[in-house]
């Protein structure tokens, strides 16, 4: 009660004083997680809510709503259909959602239907083989695939057309092969990918670097490449990128946020500024790193352009792979 009163007073004061004409601060904030607790969307929302609160950028704790369904599709349709103008409701989103948008698996709306706020960080795709594999570099692997494509079975943590499938498809394409002919098994998440490499059931594992790094360090698997544009820092600093091995294979898994299409410019600008400001605080950097995310500064229009460019790129990839017509 007191908190609500205080919030109302603060809101009233800011209106009276006209502190900032283009910025409006929503009275209460809610982060919508388009999945079960514990996944990447949940991580995004908790990173946002926790650090905003710690930095005193919001007055009341952010609340979290779980709205499971179709890698965020339920949440996307909910925001557009039911709460398009709610200034306090922000939704977690990732590259996976962009991929589904490109494949028209996100319902009736396209990537222009919401307002893209910004990114909180990124992970990167990665590819592994067994530690006793004769393929020591990405070049070895690509040459091997060229010579005998049907020998190279792949395991990934998602169905055909998912991010893990796309990453493997990029490698097969680099070897001049048709990704459609790839022998690919779909598993649930990165853990089973490692298990299938350990058991020798597949030759190649495809997932994110954070998933593979602990197993790489303990020698259970060998990471051949990370799909980032530059070398990563920290534990992953010795792992070569695909780019430096001569292949133009990039896979950035950004984690970001959007709000409803009818939210006012003032509220939209508030969110963009606050997220940008937040991402520069040392506390945020620390929290980001502890969650296995790398910095990915992209806010407001830059971020919106990035998302739209990704969707366009994924459309081309999906078309080439025969996933959409």
């Amino acid at each position: 009660m007191l908190g609500r009163l205080a919030g109302a007073v603060v809101a009233a004061c800011s209106i009276l004083l006209g502190a900032s004409p283009t910025l409006a601060k929503p009275d209460k904030t809610e982060c919508i997680v388009g999945a079960k607790p514990g996944g990447g969307f949940d991580l995004t929302c908790r990173l946002l809510g926790g650090t905003l609160q710690a930095a005193n950028l919001i007055d009341r704790p952010m609340s979290y709503t779980y709205m499971e369904g179709g890698v965020g599709a339920t949440a996307y349709n909910h925001i557009i259909g039911t709460r398009p103008g709610d200034p306090g409701a922000i939704v977690a989103v990732s590259t996976g959602s962009a991929l589904l948008l490109a494949q028209k698996k996100f319902g009736a709306h396209d990537e222009n239907a919401v307002r893209w706020v910004g990114a909180l960080g990124a992970e990167f795709g990665s590819v592994i083989v067994a530690p006793d594999s004769p393929h020591k570099t990405l070049k070895d692997l690509v040459e091997g695939i060229k010579a005998n494509p049907s020998e190279f079975s792949v395991a990934g943590g998602g169905a055909v057309g998912s991010q893990d499938w796309m990453k493997a498809a990029l490698i097969f394409r680099a070897a001049g092969q048709d990704p459609k002919k790839m022998r690919y098994i779909a598993l649930e998440g990165g853990g089973p990918v490692v298990t299938n490499i350990l058991g020798g059931h597949v030759k190649i594992g495809s997932s994110d670097i954070a998933e593979f790094l602990p197993h790489h360090k303990s020698g259970k698997v060998r990471v051949l490449a990370v799909m980032s544009s530059e070398r990563l820092t920290g534990d992953a600093k010795d792992i070569p990128t695909a780019k430096e091995q001569g292949y133009d294979i990039l896979w950035t898994v950004w984690r970001g946020l959007y709000i409803g299409p009818k939210v006012s410019d003032a509220d939209y600008n508030w969110w963009v500024e606050i997220v940008e400001k937040l991402s520069k605080t040392p506390e945020f950097r620390k929290e980001q790193e502890s969650r296995g995310l790398y910095p990915f500064p992209s806010f407001g229009k830059t971020f919106a352009d990035h998302v739209k460019a990704d969707v366009a790129r994924f459309k081309v990839l999906a078309q080439e792979a025969g996933l959409i017509k």
Partner: protein
């Protein structure tokens, strides 16, 4: 083999909060087991959304749910012995000798003896689980898609030949589960099936909704059909403690039944009810000189040891392979998946707080249960007399609250009620609900792995018969169907 995970587990299980969850689970489990209306699967199904909404950490949630499961195997015997109505499916055989004992005025002895044999069965199973699960975990890496297909076929064969009196209805139940599991994202191609373009349906039917609908709502409807006839009248317990000669006579039947119960529990698809039936018939064949069925302590000890051992054994494939050993562990597997935790060989090394915490809590829980079920058993006997005019609204309220808080949508509640009515109709026709839920859970594993195996081989079906492990499961699948048929033919 390292038992480090167990020490980590004890550190987790011995925190005050988790001790409290184990205690609460044991108490609720005994009560749920004792009440004839609801069994462990309903109890867990009701508690799961509540635990999940309370944002319990996964290990605490598992400790609570598991304690309800094995607690119910203790509690089931109380109503079997005192009112000749089994409290849950695993306690059906307990009534055969337990009720006559109570009528002879030896109710107290029977309750104590069965609690002791439950404890022995429970503890032996946890010891088995402690050593066997990580061993199987090492072995589980060898399980690729083809091996999983063979294992699933074996599971379905076991289910069809051992569960339920009518195999055809069991098979139809499985098929209904298989059909329901095809709704939502196609796990291999990523296409949406039967979703009618509704994003809410993209991930398929929610597990909790199906479980609560099938088990709780249909149970309520069944209970409503019967006239409310006041309270149940248990036979007075009396006084007394089993004699030393009784305990000695029950020793070997208890050990034998614990071992066979554990093994049957480990087999995917079968659980406590099959284990206790097998244990009882085995002991009857070995020992009966006309006393079984008329109040023989050994006929009471055997099924009680077996159903508790089976409850422990059912965790082995669930934790190491992600394949539930029984209907109740299928619900627990669903709980782990809700937390985004995929069980498998890595569970013991990467999440020792969950696998270890769960197993360690089972040692503690069995000791708690022994105390609850011998000196404190009279409390539960009192609670048996709760009239159904209280019980039915409570269950209904918990079901609706649970589903609504977990998904915050009225649609989910309506869907749950619809599924409940469907389940009630099936139960009226003599169908068992457990095969449906097992079909739902195992079906996804079977489909994904079959398609993955065929993707690996480029469509060659021979990949399913290439490894020793798969061939062993194929052989076992054939045997488990043929042996009962051959036995029944020989008996004629």
């Amino acid at each position: 083999m390292s038992l480090d995970y167990l020490w980590t587990g004890f550190a987790v299980a011995l925190t005050p909060g988790n001790l409290l969850f184990a205690l609460a689970g044991c108490f609720l489990g005994t009560l749920i087991g004792a009440l004839p209306a609801i069994g462990p699967i309903n109890g867990i199904a009701l508690m799961l959304p509540i635990a999940y909404t309370m944002k319990l950490p996964p290990e605490s949630c598992m400790i609570l749910l598991a304690a309800i499961y094995y607690g119910a195997e203790y509690g089931g015997r109380i109503s079997s012995i005192l009112i000749n109505v089994p409290g849950d499916a695993g306690a059906v055989m307990t009534a055969v000798d337990g009720y006559p004992l109570a009528r002879q005025g030896r109710g107290a002895e029977a309750l104590t003896m069965s609690a002791l044999s439950s404890f022995v069965g429970g503890i032996l199973a946890v010891i088995g689980l402690t050593f066997f699960a990580p061993l199987l975990g090492l072995f589980a890496v060898k399980f690729g898609p083809a091996e999983y297909v063979a294992l699933m076929v074996f599971a379905f064969a076991t289910l069809a030949s051992m569960v339920g009196a009518e195999p055809v209805k069991t098979i139809i139940g499985c098929l209904i589960g298989l059909l329901l599991t095809t709704i939502g994202l196609d796990p291999t191609s990523g296409a949406y099936r039967f979703t009618f373009d509704q994003p809410e349906m993209h991930d398929g039917l929610e597990f909790i909704i199906i479980v609560i609908g099938l088990f709780s709502i249909s149970e309520i409807l069944l209970m409503l059909e019967h006239k409310i006839t006041g309270t149940l009248k248990p036979i007075p317990i009396g006084k007394g403690f089993p004699s030393w000669s009784d305990i000695k006579a029950c020793w070997w039947p208890t050990i034998r039944s614990s071992v066979s119960g554990f093994i049957i529990g480990v087999l995917p698809g079968t659980g406590a009810s099959v284990a206790s039936a097998v244990a009882y018939t085995t002991e009857k064949r070995l020992l009966d000189k006309g006393t079984f069925g008329k109040g023989d302590m050994r006929g009471l000890a055997a099924p009680e040891a077996a159903n508790n051992a089976a409850a422990g054994g059912a965790f082995v494939p669930m934790l190491t392979l992600g394949v539930p050993g029984s209907g109740t562990t299928a619900v627990m597997l669903g709980a782990l998946l809700l937390y985004n935790i995929t069980p498998g060989p890595q569970l013991f090394t990467e999440k020792p707080e969950i696998a270890g915490g769960l197993i360690a809590s089972m040692y503690i829980g069995n000791i708690m249960l022994l105390i609850m079920n011998i000196p404190m058993v009279r409390i539960f006997v009192k609670m048996l007399q709760v009239p159904s005019t209280w019980l039915i609204p409570t269950i209904l309220l918990l079901s609706i609250l649970g589903v609504y808080t977990a998904y915050s949508s009225v649609m989910s509640v309506l869907l749950m009620i619809g599924i409940g009515v469907f389940g009630w109709a099936l139960r009226k026709l003599g169908f068992d609900m457990a095969p449906i839920i097992l079909g739902f859970v195992l079906g996804k594993v079977l489909e994904t792995n079959l398609r993955n195996a065929l993707a690996l081989s480029g469509g060659e079906i021979s990949i399913l018969f290439q490894s020793t492990i798969s061939n062993m499961f194929w052989a076992m699948a054939v045997l488990i169907v043929l042996i009962p048929w051959w036995l029944s033919r020989r008996a004629k």
